[in-house]
Amino acid sequence: MNASGSFKKSRISSPGRILSDTLLPFALLLFMIFLFRYTLLRIESNSLFVYDRDYLLNSFSTPGGFIGWTGQFLTQFLHYPWIGAAIWIALVALTVRLVRMAYPGLCGTFWAVSYIPVVIQSVYCLGIGYGLFLMKSPGWFFIPSIGTLLILCTVVICQRIAIFPVRWFIIILSASVGYVLAGIWGPVSALTAALSCCKSTGRDYTGLVIALTGSIGLPVLLHTLYTTFRTDEIFTVGLPVISYESQLPVRLPCLLLILYMAVAPFIRISDSHPGTRKRDIIQMAVIVISAAIIIIFSYHDRNFATENAMSAALDRYEWKEVTDILEKAEKSSARSDERAYSRRTKSIGGRSGINDIESIVDRYSSRFYEPTRIMVLYKDIALFCLGTEAESMFSFRDGARKQKRRYDIPMAIQAGKQLYFYWGLPNYCHRWCIEESVEYGWSYSTLKYAAMSAISMEECDLARKYLEILANTLYYREWAESQLALIQDREAVSAAVPYNTVIPLMCYDDRLSNDQAIIEPFIMNHFTSHRPAIATPQFDRAAMLWALRTQDIQLFWLTFLNYLGSNNPKAIPRHYQEAAILYSNLERNSGIQSLPFDRQVRENYDAFVSYEKSHPVRSISESAYPYSKRFGKTFWFFYYFIRGQETF
């Protein structure tokens, strides 16, 4: 170490460091792109950045608003996940660089410890999972990165300024202007810089006192200018906010980052003792542990990724892609299902006690693949838009796998606007766009669905309002302009995707209602109990889909007759035949023998009945898998094995 406290250049530029500095960003980029692509897309679609002066000025209404505005600006690039991820990685790479500049005593020899802020930020960004739906702070994805850079820049600048009054001025500036622009990150940067200067470049206790007074006094003073937050938030404003009982999941990473930078000046790792080889091993260990922490604390859930991918495809009107994604998820689970089945069978072995067997079945149930309700509902929408729901809605696995999340997030917030829009309830879609925007701010997604619902309801002025905002964004401009060109021409709207599917469903009579934020039963009830006197063929098709889901025999017959009347099909779709055969047999009703059923369907049903006789069902959960292997793509399987699914 030289006299000024910095380390020799040769050490800093060690080959290992250069190699890891070069490779790790690429590794992190690949990790983000391959495993979190759709999460990043979802984060982007739930954010909003408008190129508008008022939008910028509005950010100043709260301390830290500007950091959120900057975060929103950067979040828009997640529209192309690799661009957004590359920007984020560039920021954390800059963080590493500044950490080494600011804290040579800590990172001079053991440069690998400069990766710790990267680990913390990675865990924050990639470990959020379903929490992303509850994030209330605009630009939250980038806030810790920008905040950390602000602190480090202040530290580095102050360290390089030898004239004390100039340094004090910068410290006061950080505490005051920093508070206005970046919230608490401002005063923290002032305090951290003062601490660092105090330690590394002389005993500037005056600077420390100024920083301490400024960091506490200025926020207290400045908060009286604002009406956007509570008094007890003076020293937390600017940190990310989540709508949850505790702020710890999103604030702990920020606090750890601040702690790291606060204690870093006081930690000096000597380079005299461990030999180069030992040092390299320790550095390698730090890197491996860092990578392990990122992998372990990142949120990995196949269903979450599938939901996000399906949602993104749905928003692009790529109906086939929606079903392909689900199909791919199912296929990729085939092996693990087989393994789970084999182990469960072995485990059950010769046990005969029903309770024993049930407990084993329960234990293994989570190892079998099962979609979440949202996946099932997205799939139904896509099939309905493709017009193949009656042939293939039960060709996919059904179910209600509980989402792996610690947060309570109603389906209305996750997918309300999409479900209501595509099922022809644009008023409810608009309602949930508004509710979502009140809680979590307007986003590209809410503006888009609000605009589409207004277009469907022929509310051109309202649609224009939302579209003109989207026309001031980077990646939604083209879509908004295409819709603006469309809205005046009702015929063109009716022919355009997705309105050509949605508008025919809007043939129902108005009624006053309330979904109580439970969407699935509400839509089911809408189609099965509120058929208009003159229903469109599409309405009756949708009613059939929902009637089949109810597993109600009488409702099926009633809806089926309506369907036959309005659609006048040349051939009865497969699932309807399956339901009709099953229900008529259950009711011992031979009256439907005259219907033109396919021979294949009749033979399959006979096979199902004979299989049932040879493989009696002891318990639904135990028999579901073997039955699904043979009859999993039929209505009969759905009827017998998919019962009482929980929605939320």
Partner: protein
């Protein structure tokens, strides 16, 4: 000589604005399309600059403002003047003529000149609640105050200053006595609930709910001369339309009228017929008559009543009533039907009496009491002396016109309307002409003329005041944390 001087001055002014009027242009007889529509309107003499956007095709634009001998021009598609220039323009004469020119393919086109006629002053302040058109969420509500003579807006109180997570707070019904702010009130619901009052400049928080009333006070009417406030008490529910453009329906399951005696800190019943919904009290300026609306409705009380109300919602029609009151003895006379709206298959809400006591402004729609969600709701005016009423066709649109207030001089009305986009309420002003008609309504000016288009909150309950609210938002936020003072119940006095 005089003309030469005027021209020289005008030229100097133009030079100072940096805009040059083209030497030749072709004239068109059509008015330019501008947003907001400020063509040929009557404006208050103390209003802020009437900035607008030109919505005509063109490569370049020029707007020339002329008032008497003062002329100013602005380049670009946004016609925006600095406040000091606007003031100078207003001082130039009683009418501001505006000419818009557009350049297309090298040729200037001059649109037909329109005018802004300066008229009576308006109360400088208007208070409103900013609210999203949501059903259940109300995370960011503010009661704000706009200075109409400038673009300054300040928050009176924001619920973000106290609420925390699930402890949400709804704020509503801000109200002022006689257009002054030393006596004012608003309600906070749910978290830290209660009625926040400023009485003679002093803060007070009360809980107006008693065992003998169905709810705390809701829609207020501060007595003009005595220390009373009439309130409606309401058990309100809302339901959502699946297809109707009105979107949301709000209806009362029960509602009555109460009188709060500020000095005695007690409430008494004004009207509480169980088969009648009474709502929206409003005093005459002398404080001797209370106007209100009421609808007859018979349905059994019980758990089914709420559903029943919504099924019957189209049949619930409110009439206009008035009830004599002696403020000195706090005694009431018999209620009298003023307008039998139900017989016309209509429903009246929000009676508001002009400061001279001669006119009554109200909103009328097909049914119900919450016309803010009824697109057929229009403003009507009644001559109190002869009882005749008429729709304000010169003001109304084919969308919602609902909450409305008179300025303290009775020369202006402000009302909320969804005419711009059907979902977000905006505030419009209209002048009462000497012949009893109202001038073409226009939205309150904003620094950014696109504001109304971009802004994603509704303006709610506009109320004029002649002075700013002196209590700071922090004072309100601090006081609201206190326990609400209970009120006592007193029996009703009848003559």
């Amino acid at each position: 000589m005089k003309h030469a001087l005027i021209h020289t001055l005008a030229a100097l002014l133009l030079i100072s604005c940096g805009a040059e009027i083209p030497g030749s242009s072709s004239e068109t007889q059509s008015l330019p399309s501008i947003f907001p529509d400020y063509t040929n309107i009557t404006i208050p003499s103390n209003i802020a600059p009437m900035n607008f956007r030109i919505q005509e095709p063109g490569e370049k634009f020029l707007t020339v403002f002329t008032s008497g001998s003062t002329q100013m021009s602005v380049k670009g598609d946004i016609a925006s003047l600095k406040e000091k220039d606007w003031k100078r323009l207003k001082n130039g004469g009683n009418t501001i003529d505006v000419k818009v020119l557009a350049l297309n393919s090298g040729n200037w086109t001059a649109f037909k000149t329109f005018s802004m006629t300066l008229s009576d002053e308006i109360d400088p302040y208007v208070s409103y609640r900013l609210i999203p058109p949501s059903v259940v969420t109300y995370e960011r509500l503010t009661i704000s105050q706009r200075d109409l003579t400038s673009f300054r807006e300040k928050v009176i109180y924001a619920n973000s200053m106290v609420q925390n997570g699930d402890d949400g707070q709804c704020i509503n019904c801000h109200h002022f006595r006689n257009w002054k702010t030393d006596n004012m009130q608003f309600h906070a619901r749910q978290y830290l609930g209660g009625t926040m009052m400023v009485v003679e400049g002093k803060l007070r928080k009360v809980n107006l709910k008693t065992d003998s009333t169905i709810s705390a006070g809701v829609y207020p009417a501060w007595h003009p001369t005595h220390d009373y406030i009439a309130y409606s008490t309401n058990k309100t529910h809302q339901s959502i339309h699946t297809a109707d453009h009105n979107r949301i329906e709000v209806a009362d399951e029960e509602s009555d009228l109460i009188l709060y005696d500020i000095k005695a800190n007690s409430v008494s019943i004004i009207e509480n017929d169980s088969d009648r919904f009474e709502c929206f009290p409003s005093w005459t300026p002398d404080g001797r008559t209370l106007y209100y609306v009421a609808a007859d409705y018979k349905a059994p009380f019980g758990p089914e009543r709420e559903d029943r109300i919504f099924l019957d919602s189209h049949e619930i029609k409110y009439n206009l009533y008035r009830k004599p009151f002696n403020p000195d003895t706090r005694t009431w006379g018999r209620s009298e039907l003023v307008i039998d709206a139900a017989s016309m298959d209509r429903s009246i809400t929000l009676p508001r009496i002009s400061p001279d006591g001669r006119k009554l402004l109200f909103s009328m729609g097909e049914y119900g009491v919450f016309h803010i969600w009824h697109k057929d709701a229009d403003l009507y005016i009644m001559d109190i002396a002869d009882g005749t009423s008429r729709p304000l066709t010169e003001v109304n649109s084919d969308n919602v016109e609902s909450y409305h207030s008179w300025s303290s001089n009775g020369k202006w009305i402000i009302f909320s309307t969804r005419r711009e986009d059907g979902a977000y309420t905006r505030l419009y002003l209209s002048h009462l002409n000497p012949d009893g008609s109202f001038s073409k309504p226009f939205t309150i000016p904003q620094r950014n003329p696109d504001f109304n288009r971009d802004f994603l909150l509704s303006f709610n309950i506009p109320e004029f005041t002649t002075e700013p609210v002196s209590v700071s938002p922090r004072e309100f936020a601090s006081f609201i944390k206190r326990e609400a003072q209970p009120v006592s119940y007193q029996s009703k006095k009848e003559e």
